[in-house]
């Protein structure tokens, strides 16, 4: 059981280290929360986890676990277990010895080791792996043994750094389910770092999107998806990625328009206060591929004529890329929609789902 708090944590790496610098991370992770850190590679996820674990000395800022300042406390004394992408099992030790290794290091009495390992092993169903070497394990089994090794430490919290990076897609899906159920059963705090937004969305009670060593937004998954605070978050969350277009704001009579060489969108009734909020006349407009309607004919004069550029059937839906002049607009449509390459269709952006970002700062202005 643990709450974790990071207060303005800074760490700068010089030269080309594998880790990315972080520039003032503030986080409050609640007790028994499943908290996901998501961001592209080199965004500072791993550094943040390491700061919590105490594996990197900080330049500035404090780390609190259960409201106790642990900034200067040795990693071994923080009672936090960390799981790395590589899993780092000892290749020359059996499953049992791998799981027992943290207890042996702590010089736990051997009957207690036996009892603890047995408990964890039955919880995860690993009985068949105890006498085998890691080289004979499948990807999922390696993963479970690594988790078991974290569990026996009875830590206050778990930190997981891309723990499913090495698994294939199918296995990742089933491990994801197992992990979430395990966390719920244990009722313990987990901090999970990943570059995969789908994993973060599906696992996290809350998500922190991190980029450039700075937290960009913290919120519940669906909130982040619906209301990204800036275009970085909008780009990171959601698949396929949001479409972004540079547009000008124009008044035409009583109408308020977003204008671009490829299209004009009337936003008079949806975003009437835009001109007051935008610093300049030029903004970035974002629309998710799932928030675009498509039709075979021009439903109203607002609809944009667009040519089918490429299509990708995915079974229960299909991605259609359209071209309007040089602009590519990606949409997600029903699987039974038929089309021909370079055929013209009409598109309509769902206005209530439009995002508008400041051109300079990328901050959402609506």
């Amino acid at each position: 059981m643990a709450t974790i708090k990071l207060d303005n944590v800074k760490k700068r790496f010089r030269g080309d280290r594998d880790l990315c610098s972080i520039h003032g991370i503030n986080l409050e992770i609640k007790d028994s929360e499943f908290f996901c850190l998501v961001g592209p590679s080199n965004s500072g996820k791993s550094t943040t986890l390491r700061a919590i674990a105490g594996l990197v000395p900080l330049d500035e800022g404090r780390v609190y676990i259960d409201e106790v300042d642990v900034t200067n406390i040795h990693p071994g004394k923080r009672h936090i277990a960390m799981l790395f992408e590589t899993l780092a099992l000892y290749p020359n030790r059996t499953g049992y010895e791998n799981i027992a290794s943290p207890l042996r290091t702590r010089k736990t009495p051997s009957d207690e080791i036996q009892r603890t390992v047995a408990e964890v092993v039955s919880l995860l169903g690993l009985e068949h792996l105890l006498n085998r070497l890691p080289s004979t394990f499948s990807g999922g089994e390696r993963q479970r043994v690594a988790i078991a090794r974290a569990l026996v430490q009875r830590p206050r919290a778990y930190l997981l750094d891309e723990p499913m990076g090495a698994l294939d897609a199918r296995l990742r899906l089933s491990m994801r389910g197992e992990l979430k159920r395990l966390q719920r059963d244990l009722g313990q705090t987990m901090v999970f770092a990943t570059h995969d937004q789908e994993q973060a969305m599906s696992l996290g009670d809350r998500i922190a999107v991190i980029g450039g060593g700075v937290i960009q937004q913290i919120d519940a998954p669906q909130e982040i998806y619906l209301k990204p605070k800036n275009n970085f978050v909008a780009k990171t969350i959601g698949k396929p990625q949001m479409n972004f277009f540079e547009c000008g704001i124009a008044n035409e009579g009583t109408k308020l328009l977003l204008v671009n060489p490829a299209f004009r969108i009337d936003i008079t009734s949806f975003k009437p206060d835009l001109p007051g909020k935008a610093k300049t006349n030029s903004v970035i407009v974002g629309i998710r591929p799932t928030d675009i309607d498509m039709s075979d004919q021009e439903e109203s004069q607002d609809w944009i004529p667009a040519k089918v550029h490429i299509s990708e059937p995915l079974g229960n839906k299909q991605i259609l890329d359209f071209k309007v002049r040089d602009l590519v607009i990606r949409t997600v449509v029903r699987p039974d929609v038929s089309y021909k390459l370079d055929e013209t269709k009409w598109l309509n952006f769902k206005k209530e789902r439009l995002h508008v970002f400041d051109k300079e700062t990328g901050i959402s202005i609506l």
Binding site: P40, S41, D168, A169, R170, L173, G177, K180, R181, R184, H195, D196, E198, M201, S202, L203, P221, Q222, Y225, I237, G238, K239, P240, Q241, R288, T290, H309, I310, E312, P313, L314, G315, N316, I319, D321, R330, V332, P335, L341
Partner: protein
């Protein structure tokens, strides 16, 4: 009808005790984009190696443009191979990379120049000919790699998981570009991958392999909607299809399908009308895709097919619910639904199977009957 470009006629490859590829028959048409898809160890890479000439089939024939090419060495095959890491020269510019193979063959200078310019135009890299390969973005690299292979004018391109080392967003963009490029160039391409989503999105037709055997060859939509066996049904589509062991019974003239523990029972007389007599009174596997399971979260009328929520995965435009049937907690079912109110774990809901979308799988042969 297009003509057959490449024919794999009963190809088998044996390594010691292992039959890596077993009696594979595939016809690939001119200008077609075909993906060979399967998990690791299914024989897809061995197949690719036999096409490219790195392996010789133990039996069977590879026929390209009506000529048997089994034993021709790679360079004489008229087949261009594009590797996962592209294998281009980072220290050379785009022009030199494209010209390389012709220069090695000591072709006259102006012939090289006109060929390079022609290819550069086709793959749209004319504007970056002087750029160093190492400084290109992934999209440009892909086009140069294809261009480099085009220089030797192969009649078929083989691609070995070329998108594998890119990050997720880039992959989605690159695969769209690759697909469009293939259509514009009008070249036959064979693409090997283990990623079902990639195969679905790219291919005109998909060859699904498992354990050296051809499982199914069809368009993506047909494979998705009409898988021939349990392997294909489970391998294609994400989240994967639900499988529930059921019993098929004929009760007062109706064909009833019930779960073994009796947690649900449905009349499938309509969809099951073509099932043969022998299947009745037998166990049967019900296969249903998550998007064909709907849920009723709010107004419950409190009767059959109740279930409890085990897990909720919001994914943005949609949401995956993992539920356990009441009285049958081992049957975990995934439903892919629109996100409305997000239910909480443990909540009781009602689930509905879309009857016209169900599959029936014979548990012994694993064949899909419906």
């Amino acid at each position: 009808m297009s003509r057959i470009k490449l024919k794999l006629d009963r190809i088998t490859k044996v390594f010691g005790d292992l039959i890596a590829v077993n009696d594979l028959c595939v016809d690939i048409f001119d200008n077609e984009f075909v993906c060979i898809l399967g998990p690791s160890g299914c024989g897809k890479t061995t197949t690719l190696n036999m096409l490219s000439g790195l392996e010789v089939p133990t039996s069977g024939n590879i026929i390209l443009d009506d000529k048997v090419i089994n034993k021709l060495p790679p360079q004489k095959r008229d087949i261009g191979l594009i590797f996962q890491d592209y294998a281009l020269f980072e220290n050379m510019n785009v022009y030199e990379n494209l010209a390389f193979s012709m220069r090695v063959k000591r072709k006259p200078r102006d012939e090289v120049d006109s060929k390079v310019r022609e290819v550069a135009q086709a793959v749209e890299v004319s504007h970056i000919l002087k750029k160093n390969y190492g400084s290109l973005n992934p999209g440009e690299m892909q086009r140069v790699a294809i261009g480099r292979t085009m220089i030797s004018e192969p009649s078929v391109f083989l691609l070995d998981e070329p998108l594998d080392n890119l990050d997720a967003d880039m992959r989605v963009t690159m695969r769209a570009e690759l697909k469009r490029l293939q259509k514009d160039l009008g070249k036959t391409m064979i693409y090997v991958t283990h990623d079902q989503e990639e195969a679905m999105s790219l291919a005109d037709r998909i060859v699904v392999m498992e354990q050296g055997l051809l499982q199914q060859m069809d368009t993506p939509q047909d494979i998705y909607n009409h898988p021939v066996n349990r392997f294909v049904a489970g391998f294609i589509g994400t989240p994967p299809m639900n499988f529930i062991t059921c019993k098929l019974e004929s009760i007062s003239g109706k064909l009833m399908l019930s779960s073994l523990k009796g947690s649900f029972s449905m009349d499938i007389s309509e969809v099951g009308r073509h099932l043969y007599e022998g299947t009745i009174q037998k166990e049967m596997i019900l296969g249903i895709r998550p998007e064909n399971v709907s849920v009723n979260i709010d107004d419950l009328n409190g009767e059959k097919r109740g279930a409890r929520i085990l897990r909720v995965e919001p994914l943005g435009p949609e949401m995956v619910l993992e539920v356990a049937l009441e009285g049958d907690p081992d049957n975990v079912i995934r439903a892919l639904v629109d996100p409305g109110r997000i239910p909480s774990v443990g909540e009781r809901i009602e689930i509905i199977f879309h009857q016209d979308k169900i599959h029936m799988i014979d548990p012994l042969s694993e064949e899909v009957l419906i």
